[in-house]
């Protein structure tokens, strides 16, 4: 199979065209030829019928093969018929002034005695012409002179060979009559029909058409006419028809080629544009105006994809740029500190100071690299979470123990409002990291004297973990971006407070990995509340329900949440 759409289109198109045009030309030629032949045959048949009527009107002894009538002598020898060429019609004056039904020609070329015959339906008057005394071989009858009216057949042409001709054979195969000036062959056997047979037609060599009819008393009447002129006209017609058909085919194929190119060109352009789009240049778009409707959808889909790709690449490059900035900064701190320390001999205290700075910078880098790796693994779908039932209460308690020192250092009260024993399905390390990130963020952004409160409660089908602070809050314009990587609401503050801008992005990624949701509400200068919902497995849920059922209504459904900080303050 050809792999080119265009070539396939063209091949099919060509096949269809050839069939349609060839079929049309063939049918046309066949119909025209049939029509011409029918007209010729109709004339021949009319002549045959005329002759039949004429022959029928002859005395029977002329026709029968029996004994000749008295005085007829021995059977006449076959002798050349009396030649009397019909006078040229133009010289023949009209017999009467009546217009002719057959092309205005004077009718009754040979029936001088019957002028003004209206038609040839009836048998004509008998006209006999005995050709003198018999001089042919004995046993043969003399021929009878019969003339065909010229109007029955086409006008005689210049050459005698082109004239219409006729032969009437008797049943005994002798010639009864024939057109003048024509050699008559023996009566053909194959044409022996019964008297009821209809008129037969045949082609004869030399471009002649003959009609024949079995006449009265076993006679055979044959009228022939050269139709080479008609045949050559038909041939010319065939050439014209098939020639113009070929021309139409050629034009059609050319047009098809052009159209198929115009169909495939947009595809080529689309693929050209698509291939020109690379990571370094994502701004290219397929030019949609002028594209056909069928391809417009494809082009639009591709353009949308390019837009999404461009956005993704832009995000990626910004992320890379941010990551490189975040990595280079601690590197610069380490490098500069070491270079400065080595530039001249220092005191032990100065070295200690340098090393402390280097340690801080390298811890920061380590945290950053760790965060980047976590995100990269999550992006690649390879976080390798170790899922098992975890009691969130113990996670909260551990986190409190871990962060209490830094909270005290920052003058922030770290408290637990409510802590239900809630089991979720999750990874202990990552759950601790989520909570740790939120708590350290809350402590970082809360001024001394403030409060960070953690609560854990069980809802219907989910566990709700909330971390709420009385810190500086997130400016409204920055709220949509807090979960973006390397986003920091207040850069000045966060620089001095530490943090690398990945904490909340990592939280969101890890919560997503646990099929949970993370959300926040924040009022600038009042505080921020982060809420995480983890799904509780139906199994655990149903166990809870069973316990509740077993205990009857002893366990009252709690109010969803005690009044929160924000609610108290607002």
């Amino acid at each position: 199979m050809v792999k080119s759409i265009r070539a396939r289109l063209q091949i099919w198109y060509a096949i269809v065209l050839v069939v349609v045009i060839g079929g049309f030309a063939g049918v046309l030629y066949y119909q025209v030829r049939k029509d011409r032949l029918q007209r010729i045959d109709a004339r021949l048949e009319a002549a045959v019928r005329y002759l039949e009527a004429t022959v029928r009107s002859l005395p029977p002894h002329e026709l029968n093969a029996g004994p000749p009538p008295p005085g007829d002598g021995p059977a006449p020898l076959e002798r050349p018929p009396f030649r009397r060429p019909p006078p040229p019609p133009e010289r023949r004056p009209p017999q009467d002034g009546r217009p002719d039904r057959f092309g205005g020609r004077p009718r009754g070329q040979s029936f001088e005695g019957l002028p003004g015959r209206p038609d040839f339906e009836g048998p004509p008057e008998r006209e006999e012409d005995f050709h003198g005394p018999p001089d042919g071989p004995p046993g043969r009858r003399p021929q009878v002179t019969i003339e065909l009216p010229g109007s029955l057949l086409d006008q005689p042409r210049e050459e005698p060979e082109d004239w219409p001709y006729f032969v009437v054979w008797r049943a005994n195969r002798s010639v009864l009559a024939s057109s003048p000036g024509r050699e008559v062959g023996p009566r053909p056997d194959a044409l022996a029909f019964s008297s009821s047979a209809p008129t037969g037609f045949r082609f004869q060599p030399g471009g002649r058409r003959e009609a024949f009819l079995t006449g009265p008393h076993g006679s055979l009447i044959l009228v022939g006419k050269p139709i080479d002129r008609e045949l050559s006209e038909l041939r010319a017609f065939a050439w014209q028809t098939f020639g113009s058909g070929a021309l139409v085919l050629g034009i059609g194929l050319l047009g098809g080629w052009v159209i198929s190119r115009s169909i495939t060109r947009p595809i080529a352009e689309i693929s050209k544009t698509a291939s020109a789009i690379s990571a370094s240049n994502l701004s290219g778009r397929i030019h949609t105006p002028g594209i056909d409707q069928e391809l417009l959808g494809l082009a639009e889909v591709l353009n949308e994809m390019f837009t999404r790709l461009e956005a993704a690449f832009l995000r990626q490059s910004r992320f890379t740029s941010d990551a490189s900035h975040e990595l280079r900064t601690p590197l610069a701190i380490i490098h500069s500190n070491v270079e400065l320390a080595l530039s001249k001999p220092r005191s032990a205290d100065e070295y200690r100071q340098t090393l402390t700075a280097c340690l801080r910078a390298s811890s920061r880098m380590a945290a950053l690299v760790d965060g980047l790796l976590t995100l990269a693994r999550a992006d690649a779908g390879r976080l390798d979470l170790l899922f098992k039932p975890i009691n969130l209460k113990s996670v909260v308690e551990e986190a409190i123990d871990q962060y209490r020192p830094s909270a005290e250092k920052g003058g922030v009260a770290l408290t637990v409002a409510q802590c239900d024993s809630t089991t979720v399905h999750g990874d202990a390390v990552f759950l601790a990291r989520i909570l740790g990130n939120l708590i350290s963020n809350a402590i970082r952004y809360t001024a001394p004297g403030g409060q960070v409160q953690i609560s854990l409660r069980t809802g219907s089908g989910f566990a709700l973990l909330a971390v709420q602070d009385t810190g500086c809050g997130i400016p409204l314009e920055d709220q949509p971006q807090v979960f973006e990587r390397f986003f920091r609401a207040d850069k000045a503050r966060s620089r001095t407070l530490g943090g690398n801008g990945l904490g909340l992005a990592i939280c969101k990624t890890l919560v997503d990995a646990h099929d949970g949701t993370i959300s926040f509400t924040s009022v600038p200068d009042r505080g921020t509340r982060f809420e995480i919902r983890f799904p509780i497995e139906a199994r655990i849920d149903s166990v809870g329900e069973k316990i509740q059922l077993a205990l009857g209504s002893q366990i009252e459904p709690r109010r969803s949440e005690p009044p929160t900080f924000l609610e108290n303050r607002l």
Partner: protein, 217 residues
């Protein structure tokens, strides 16, 4: 020489400032764009070291705002190393561009070159008669003999040499040699001047009474 370092990373700002002070520069610090721009506009710094990713006003904006008023040489010190960033920085009016992490020695050399070019001097060695001042090694020779000078004395000699044949006022000397943390005693400049005269000869620095000091090349 007095430089301003605008850097939002406290640890980095601290180490750069310390290193520059050891090199004899008077160093002022700013941790965000707003503060940096305010300081850069209000003092005649010999050079500004400017980070680009700054809170409040970013480095490009600081540069653009500063350029509307002053021609202070600016060295951009940033982690952004893309060519487009460098081009943008230099086109915004920065005089030089250094990408983090960097070598302190390169930072020093670039700063020296910036200050020299701003003073219209192309070479690193300034010759004033018999006295040659090598700004690369921060050393002074008199008749090819090394002359030991303290960092402050050297800075004063360099300042006067960069503005040779011009009168440098006492205020200018204070502005360029002392940062805001120095307790500048009123007669500190006179003390340094007399020390330099003792080491390089009485006639090296000429006093223009009521105006300031001048050296002749």
């Amino acid at each position: 020489m007095r430089v301003l370092v605008v850097e939002d990373e406290p640890e980095l700002l601290q180490v750069i400032a310390r290193a520059l002070r050891e090199q004899g520069y008077a160093v002022d610090e700013a941790t965000d764009g707003e503060e940096g721009l305010f300081r850069a506009k209000s003092w005649e710094y010999d050079a500004v070291v400017l980070d680009l990713m700054l809170p409040k006003i970013n480095g490009w904006q600081v540069l653009a705002a500063l350029r509307r008023e002053k021609k202070t040489p600016v060295l951009i010190l940033t982690a952004r190393d893309a060519v487009t960033d460098r081009v943008r920085g230099l086109d915004s009016g920065a005089d030089d561009y250094l990408v983090k992490p960097f070598e302190l020695s390169e930072l020093f050399a670039r700063l020296r070159a910036l200050i020299r070019r701003a003073a219209g001097k192309a070479t690193a060695v300034i010759e004033l008669g018999e006295v040659a001042i090598d700004t690369r090694t921060r050393s002074v020779t008199n008749q090819t003999q090394p002359v030991p000078l303290t960092a402050r004395e050297y800075a004063l000699v360099e300042l006067l040499a960069l503005h040779r044949d011009e009168v440098v006022t006492r205020t200018q000397i204070y502005d360029h040699l002392f940062d805001e943390n120095d307790d500048s005693l009123s007669n500190l400049v006179e003390v340094h001047i007399s020390n330099i005269r003792r080491k390089l000869g009485k006639d090296f620095i000429e006093t223009r009474r009521g105006l300031g000091y001048v050296v002749h090349g």
